[in-house]
């Protein structure tokens, strides 16, 4: 095996030097009756060339990866500058682990500190951690944190949160004594409605996503006020993090915890992972946060460095009393986001966000003009919106893919059987005008047949 350095002779000599005659003797602490007698039923080794060919062939079978797409719904195709993938592939970053030894991990530590700062700047919050697995698990952790902070057990969630996120939250809280209550949904605006929500009284938190799953921007300020009046924390979830480049920050709307999926920051959609969960809160809640934190420290000569800090919240010290069980997080993807945000910078992030919104506005305007199509929701949007088609969405999208070679969006029936004709459409800066026009022509002709 070419990855294993020692030659057969070296192995023999090493065996002899530890007083053994055969490799088998290395395993004598395993009782005979549990040792495998036969080789694993796994194919024989492939050479590099064979392996590449096999994987290329599998990749070819993913037709959806090769056509213009208007799929969003929690995973967004954005431009990623070439240097992002280049820099995260430096051996020093990608073959290191958690920076337990700060003297020889300052590269990782400084990058995480920069990541934490960027997340604070983008969300308008005071502190951010070193990353969570993804947006959905970050949201689950936020809900559990709200219970710790308030010692209340009811959590009111918007029904316009990504359905898979809600499923994950439900899984996490099922044994934690937390009850999830769904708020109302306004079918006119496409926004969450908490006007008559009595469940909010005595709740640990109100949780909303903005822009929400249907693309509508929520009225965060009003919701924060309402939540705070009830003594609840206000948790804001963002699945399309590029929106932070244009929209009022959750922090400016007085959110207590902000979680986001950071995949939009230069990370490929990669069939759903690895992504990176962002987690930010107010300083007063820092010690209740899950996950790793990097802080500034000094050595004896007063030189600035960075260390993992406030570790007494974490599992390796606090064990069952830890704020979370998370250990390994999404380090390298957080680095990708850091490099992306740094490269795009203050101007670039704003420009990408604006382009997304502009292209979406164009697409929405054109689709609304199509006969038989409507846009059911009136709220302002960022880069996603629901289209109500004259025929079943799944069938329409099928035709679009096969006849027009466009992935037109997501049939909402995947999650909402009561919305058979609705399509969630997303535009990013990658969707060229001729692609959008092709989508519009395709929608129009495919719905008529």
């Amino acid at each position: 095996m070419r990855y294993i350095p020692n030659s057969p002779d070296e192995r023999q000599e090493m065996l002899a030097s530890v007083g053994l005659n055969s490799i088998e003797e290395l395993f004598t602490s395993l009782p005979e009756d549990i040792r495998l007698r036969e080789p694993l039923n796994i194919p024989a080794a492939l050479s590099e060339l064979e392996l590449l060919a096999q994987f290329e062939a599998m990749g070819e079978r993913n037709h959806a990866a090769r056509r213009p797409s208007f799929l969003g719904a929690g995973a967004y195709a954005h431009y990623s500058p070439t240097i992002v993938d280049h820099l995260i592939q430096r051996s020093e970053f990608f073959t290191a682990y958690t920076p337990y030894q700060p003297e020889i991990s300052q590269g990782t530590l400084q990058a995480i500190f920069e990541f934490q700062t960027l997340v604070c700047q983008l969300t308008g919050m005071e502190v951010a951690n070193a990353s969570m697995y993804d947006g959905s698990t970050a949201l689950a952790e936020a809900v559990m944190m709200a219970e710790r902070v308030t010692r209340r057990s009811r959590v009111v969630v918007s029904p316009a949160i990504h359905p898979e996120y809600l499923e994950v939250v439900q899984t996490y809280v099922q044994h934690a004594g937390i009850e999830l209550v769904r708020a109302d949904f306004d079918e006119q605006t496409g926004q969450t409605s908490i006007a008559n929500d009595t469940a909010l009284n005595a709740a640990a938190a109100l949780v909303v996503q903005s822009p929400n799953f249907f693309g509508s921007i929520e009225n965060l300020k009003a919701m924060a006020e309402r939540a705070h009046k009830a003594g609840a924390l206000f948790i804001v979830c963002v699945t399309e993090a590029i929106s932070l480049g244009l929209l009022r920050t959750p922090g400016a709307c007085d959110a207590d915890i902000v979680v986001a999926e950071g995949q939009s920051f230069g990370v490929p959609v990669s069939f759903g992972g690895p992504f990176v969960g962002l987690f930010a809160t107010k300083e007063k809640f820092a010690r209740q946060m899950p996950g790793r934190l990097v802080g500034i420290a000094a050595d004896k000569e007063g030189r600035r460095g960075f260390v993992l800090t406030l570790a007494t919240r974490e599992q390796h010290i606090r064990r069952e009393k830890a704020t979370s069980n998370i250990c390994t997080n999404q380090g390298l993807i957080a680095l990708a986001a850091t490099v992306y945000l740094t490269t795009m910078g203050r101007r670039g992030i704003e420009e990408v966000a604006t382009q997304c919104a502009q292209k979406t506005a164009y697409a929405a305007r054109r689709i609304a003009e199509l006969e038989g199509f409507s846009l059911p929701y009136s709220a302002p949007r960022f880069n996603e919106f629901v289209v109500r088609a004259p025929i079943a969405a799944a069938e329409l999208l099928n035709r679009l893919a096969n006849k027009h070679n466009v992935t037109g969006g997501l049939a909402l029936s995947r999650y909402f059987p009561d919305k058979p004709n609705d399509i969630l459409v997303c535009c990013t800066e990658l969707n060229k005008r001729d692609e959008i026009d092709k989508l519009i022509d395709g929608l129009s002709s495919s719905s008529k047949i």
């Binding site: 495998l36 280049h86 502190v127 400016a252 759903g272 802080g295 069980n325």
Partner: protein, 514 residues
């Protein structure tokens, strides 16, 4: 002749500032095509009340060159597997092949949207299914979910399966009888084990280890006699690097008590191709693809923590599952959402798919023989270190180690030199330190895991370095106590950092760079 080289100022690479401190108004590092659609006035696009009003102040303004230099410079302050031996016990810091990186970036994988219809994502589903099959074969546990994102996530998933099975078996929902709620966890376990148990609603009871470093069967029986046993979370080989040779008996005790056995598979690098947890009586295990199957550790992740379980537990696995449909010789793959008994979803989409691509590439590149060869080499390397250091360091357990070996600072601490000092001094010799002060039950623990990716020459250098440090501890303890001497910065005051945490950069504070 003496040369008169003037003393140079330290190179900039040693003083790279934070990117925010490098920022200059007006610099840009990106380019985008011009907007190609008719522009909508901003206020119509998004009303002002919903727009940011701070112009993203504080975010960096730097050129592309600045970015590349910045991250390249700070990267050189890291130690890494590609640089040398990284014997971090319990973490399996093996070689991360570039081939795996390449295949994960194949267009059909990297640019495939997770909500693409099954029919248009057949290659990805096939890949996930193939990996599931191989992991089932390796563990001897047929039900596999690739959804968990890391080891701790897999732990949570695994013991939620146990919870679900017990509830369905004991009918807790109908009767109001108290649930079996006790999760037994050895005192040597990793911190994530009790944290995951707590997260899943279990009460943790701790099982003592024997002087030999194995699970104390008497203590286990006594705890089982107290009742309400939901299960046991056992690491095997355990965190001392020792194989729990009574594993079958242990599983029997737990099963007799009505519980299930969860195995923390962080140490599977000692077992792949040699023995299978499923054959030992284990009910459910998580694997760390970022350890045993070489997906890169990435400075702290991403990981992947697949969960493998018995047929009995399979109905409870997270939804959806990737399944194969064989119809008239045609093989297709699909997501199966119809899992009424499932514990639910543990992560959006399909887990850390990119890690699955790399892990499958690792498995197929090794093949069945290579997988076993890796295990053998990993164990032999640990054995070689155990042998090489036993005269210089206290080895608290006599049994031969599997893939990692624990020593202590008992001898050196008489001179005031402790594990932390030894670890820091190792840096001066060009090695990443071992895992220190874990497991918690060994005072001054140094847990060394060389992995199979280290050749004899480097092992010898490591042994030499450790021997030298042992000598220094006796003859020149100050050198060890003040280590490291060769790094850009010295030991950092972590206590002070935690007392007054500064967790982000702020423009006004202008913390001065060194």
């Amino acid at each position: 002749m003496k040369s008169h080289t003037p003393k140079a100022a330290p190179h900039v690479t040693q003083n790279e500032a934070l990117i925010f401190e490098r920022s200059q108004p007006g610099r840009t590092g990106y380019s985008l095509p011009p907007l190609d659609v008719d522009e909508t006035p901003l206020d119509e696009l998004v009303p002002e009340e919903f727009r940011r009003d701070d112009e993203l102040e504080g975010l960096p303004e730097v050129s592309e060159t600045d970015v590349v230099r910045h991250f390249t410079r700070i990267s050189t302050w890291n130690y890494s597997v590609d640089l040398g031996m990284y014997p971090l016990g319990s973490c399996t810091m093996k070689y991360n092949s570039r081939l795996n990186e390449k295949v994960a970036r194949i267009n059909g994988f990297a640019n495939l949207h997770p909500l693409a219809p099954d029919a248009e994502a057949q290659g990805a589903l096939q890949l996930l299914h193939e990996l599931q099959e191989h992991l089932a074969e390796i563990t001897g546990l047929p039900g596999v979910s690739l959804q968990p994102a890391a080891g701790a996530h897999g732990e949570m998933t695994g013991i939620m399966l146990i919870r679900a099975l017990l509830d369905s078996r004991d009918g807790v929902a109908e009767s109001n009888s108290p649930r079996r709620n006790v999760m037994l966890i050895p005192d040597s376990a990793h911190g994530t084990n009790p944290a995951s148990a707590n997260l899943s609603g279990f009460k943790v009871k701790t099982v003592k280890s024997t002087a030999e470093g194995l699970t104390d069967l008497e203590a286990l029986r006594a705890l089982c006699a107290e009742g309400d046993i939901a299960g046991l979370m056992l690491t095997n080989p355990n965190t001392l690097g020792l194989f729990e040779r009574n594993i079958k008996e242990i599983c029997g005790i737990i099963h007799d008590a009505g519980g299930l056995v969860y195995m923390d598979g962080a140490n599977m690098n000692a077992l792949v191709g040699v023995a299978r947890p499923g054959d030992m009586g284990v009910d459910v295990i998580h694997l760390n693809l970022h350890k045993t199957f070489s997906t890169p550790h990435g400075g702290g992740g991403p990981g992947s923590g697949p969960c493998c379980c018995t047929k009995e537990l399979e109905p409870f696995l997270p939804t959806p599952r990737v399944v194969k449909d064989v119809r008239g010789g045609d093989e297709t793959y699909k997501l199966d959402f119809n899992r009424p008994q499932s514990i639910g979803r543990v992560k959006a989409f399909h887990g850390n798919f990119g890690m699955a691509v790399r892990a499958l590439s690792y498995i197929l590149t090794h093949g069945r023989d290579g997988l076993r060869e890796a295990t053998e080499a990993a164990v032999l390397n640990a054995r070689y270190i155990a042998q090489g250091l036993k005269d210089d360091y206290d080895k608290p357990f006599d049994s031969p180690p599997m893939h990692e070996v624990v020593f202590t600072d008992k001898r050196q601490s008489r001179k005031g030199v402790h594990t932390l000092d030894i670890a820091k001094r190792l840096i001066d010799y060009g090695f990443h330190p071992m895992t220190i002060y874990f497991p918690l039950i060994v005072q001054g623990a140094m847990l060394i895991e060389p992995t199979e990716s280290v050749g004899r020459g480097e092992l010898d250098q490591f042994i030499y370095a450790m021997k030298q440090i042992a000598r220094e501890a006796l003859e020149d303890p100050e050198t060890v106590l003040n280590a490291p001497h060769t790094t850009r910065i010295g030991r950092l005051d972590e206590a002070a950092a935690a007392r007054k945490p500064v967790l982000r950069w702020k423009a006004e504070e202008q913390v001065s760079a060194a």
